[in-house]
């Protein structure tokens, strides 16, 4: 492969683009190429974990900072590692397997530049059915629990999204591994969380997850993530999440 550099990482970057990858040699070059154009001072951090197909080599050749972990870290853990390594004021999170045109990435960076703390993708997946996937249901329910029904199914689970350094400090890099928890910390701590732009990542997502016994194994992990997120919400806001129950005369119940 021609090793033409696509990006020159800035010494003092404004935007850090964080791309966790596993075996994504087919798409990683175009993901980097698009990400390089979001800002003039940009650094691209690729977290290659458990890669056996040379993804890391391709990313390095394209000019990205590559952090290599021989073992798979698991879903979204790369976001934590990337966020810790990032030097920019704005952190833009992407996936290595979904190339998104830079025109669809700049709105997130722009929104953060203009004062939004957490700028999210407005895409919520197929919701026009009678029965929806557990993940979609959980995202909607979490926003209702957070008293942000206006966000519908918008969540930090979905890429692309961008946050500023202040938001990173409040959310904590560790929480980024469990995106619903990060989402709760952002909203419950009063950060300005907004859906800023629509990028359809459902139809472009080529990844076919392996189904075991007709069940999606990640579905249960993500449901668990949302339960964990509800747990952290209840820890912050109390057992009814700040919803008072004045009208019910509980003294009659004993």
């Amino acid at each position: 492969m021609k090793a033409t550099k696509l990006v020159r990482n800035a010494n003092r970057p404004k935007v850090s683009v964080i791309i966790p990858v596993m075996n994504e040699r087919r798409t990683i070059r175009s993901v980097i190429a698009q990400a390089a154009n979001v800002h003039s001072q940009v650094e691209i951090i690729v977290i290659a974990n458990g890669s056996r197909d040379g993804t890391a080599r391709i990313a390095r050749a394209a000019g990205a900072r590559v952090l290599v972990y021989p073992q798979p870290l698991g879903h979204d853990v790369g976001r934590t590692i990337g966020a810790k390594a990032a030097k920019g004021d704005i952190l833009l999170f992407l996936d290595g397997d979904i190339p998104i045109a830079s025109a669809n990435l700049t709105p997130f960076v722009k929104a953060v530049e203009n004062g939004v703390d957490v700028a999210l993708n407005r895409y919520t997946g197929p919701v026009h059915h009678m029965q929806v996937h557990s993940v979609i249901l959980a995202k909607h329910a979490l926003n209702i629990a957070l008293a942000r029904p206006d966000l519908k199914g918008v969540s930090m689970t979905t890429i692309p999204h961008a946050i500023n350094r202040g938001a990173l400090r409040i959310i904590g890099a560790g929480a980024l591994s469990v995106p619903p928890c990060a989402h709760v910390r952002a909203v419950a701590n009063g950060l300005k969380v907004e859906a800023v732009h629509h990028v359809n990542v459902g139809s472009t997502n080529p990844r076919k997850r392996k189904r075991i016994d007709g069940k999606d194994p990640l579905e249960h992990v993500i449901l668990g993530d949302h339960a964990e997120a509800i747990h952290s919400l209840l820890t912050i806001k109390g057992p009814r999440a700040n919803r008072i129950d004045k009208i019910r005369r509980r003294e009659w119940l004993v």
Binding site: H129, Q131, A145, R248
Partner: protein, 394 residues
């Protein structure tokens, strides 16, 4: 402009309207449309029926599907039911006086147990047998009673909560009077109208009266703790449910369920149009591993449960229905869908329960949070969904 050109322009216009060209133009347009459709991956559904098949819009209501299912009672057993009914009528009359609901219920459930007519789990078949039975018992009467007999001779306590329901309470109790209930407990609270007076005119009605408004569902606990039946039927006094419509709940319990919920799934809209409370109900069921219950929960009335189920939930938990739902699932009770009663349509609109951020919705969402916090306390922050994939870095 020369005469020649003008002539040509006119002829072009005429040409454009010639049928062959018109057809070709339409064919072209159609081809482009089809191509665009092929590119966008969303399938285009032309007919509503087609969309319904694929679950893209609300399901057909029960009343409409009932015609599609052909349920015919076995004629031989229908005859047997009539004979048994006539015998029961004669038997009761011989001991003196007129036939009352409780007596005929005893005979009916005994006959069901002995004869075991086929297909009684099906509502239509059950009703046909029941009608034949009652018809024969009252063969010499001018008028048939519109009674609704139950599949088992359990004693049933109905618990009704009522707050200023003078307009509907009479209708509700009128329908309930068609069933051989052991008692109806009306928890009248915070009522300034004639709710209590109307309720007291009915037989087998026990009124629990509270001057102050107790708040949502507190009446369920108070009613349940002063009841004595084997089965507890929870209802609201704000709209009357036809007696027959309650039968599926009893059939579900007869079939072995501990709790029979109201199945409101045919009455809810597509996911994107649902209200916040409905989303939370479904989320709680999903986390409880009960995807099959969809949006159904103890929050909605009517529902029926055995006394043993109520006791294992804890009567005080009945006042916070989502909490009771969690308790019921944890206790391993068999929770089934019973009847389908459209409470979505019939719910009385008040100032407090309409609009986006109404206090009732806020309270029910809070109830769900309370239920989740209980669940998390008992099962841990991730419930039953372990994180099998991550190597966590703090």
């Amino acid at each position: 402009m020369t005469r020649h050109l003008r002539k040509r322009r006119v002829s072009r216009k005429k040409l454009a309207n010639r049928p062959v060209r018109r057809r070709r133009r339409r064919a072209n347009k159609r081809a482009v449309r089809q191509q665009v459709r092929r590119q966008s991956r969303k399938p285009v559904y032309r007919k509503r029926h087609d969309r319904r098949e694929r679950g893209l819009c609300a399901a057909v209501h029960r009343e409409q599907t009932a015609e599609l299912v052909i349920a015919v009672p076995d004629p031989q057993f229908l005859q047997l039911a009539a004979i048994a009914g006539a015998e029961a009528g004669a038997d009761i009359r011989s001991t003196g006086g007129s036939i009352d609901k409780q007596q005929i219920q005893q005979h009916w459930s005994l006959w069901l147990q002995r004869a075991m007519p086929p297909g009684i789990a099906h509502l239509d078949i059950y009703t046909a047998f029941m009608r034949a039975y009652i018809g024969a018992a009252f063969a010499d009467h001018a008028e048939l009673p519109s009674w609704v007999l139950l599949p088992e001779a359990h004693t049933v306590s109905c618990i009704l909560t009522a707050m200023n329901e003078e307009r509907t309470i009479g209708l509700v109790l009128g329908q309930l009077a068609r069933l051989p209930l052991h008692e109806v407990i009306v928890v009248v609270n915070g009522s300034a109208d004639r709710t209590r007076d109307i309720a007291e005119t009915f037989e087998r009605v026990k009124v629990l009266h509270y001057e102050e408004a107790l708040g949502h569902d507190v009446g369920r606990t108070l009613g349940a703790s002063s009841s004595s039946g084997d089965l507890l039927l929870f209802m609201d006094a704000d709209f009357a449910v036809p007696g027959e419509a309650l039968l599926p709940f009893f059939l579900a319990v007869h079939d072995g369920a501990d709790i029979a919920l109201n199945d409101i799934s045919p009455f809810v809209d597509r996911f994107e149009r649902r209200d916040e409370v409905t989303v939370m109900k479904e989320f709680l069921n999903r986390l409880l591993g009960r995807q099959d219950l969809a949006v159904n929960s103890l929050t909605a009335v009517p529902h029926l449960m055995t006394r043993a189920a109520a006791n294992s939930i804890g009567l005080e938990k009945l006042a916070v229905p989502p909490l009771a739902q969690v308790k019921a699932v944890e206790a391993g009770l068999r929770i089934d869908n019973g009847g389908q009663i459209n409470v979505v349509k019939h719910n009385r609109h008040r100032k407090s329960n309409t609009g986006a951020k109404n206090p009732v919705a806020e309270m029910i969402i809070g109830d769900h949070m309370e239920a989740l916090s209980q669940l998390i306390r008992e099962q841990g922050p991730r419930l039953t969904f372990a994180d099998t994939v991550r190597t966590r870095h703090s």
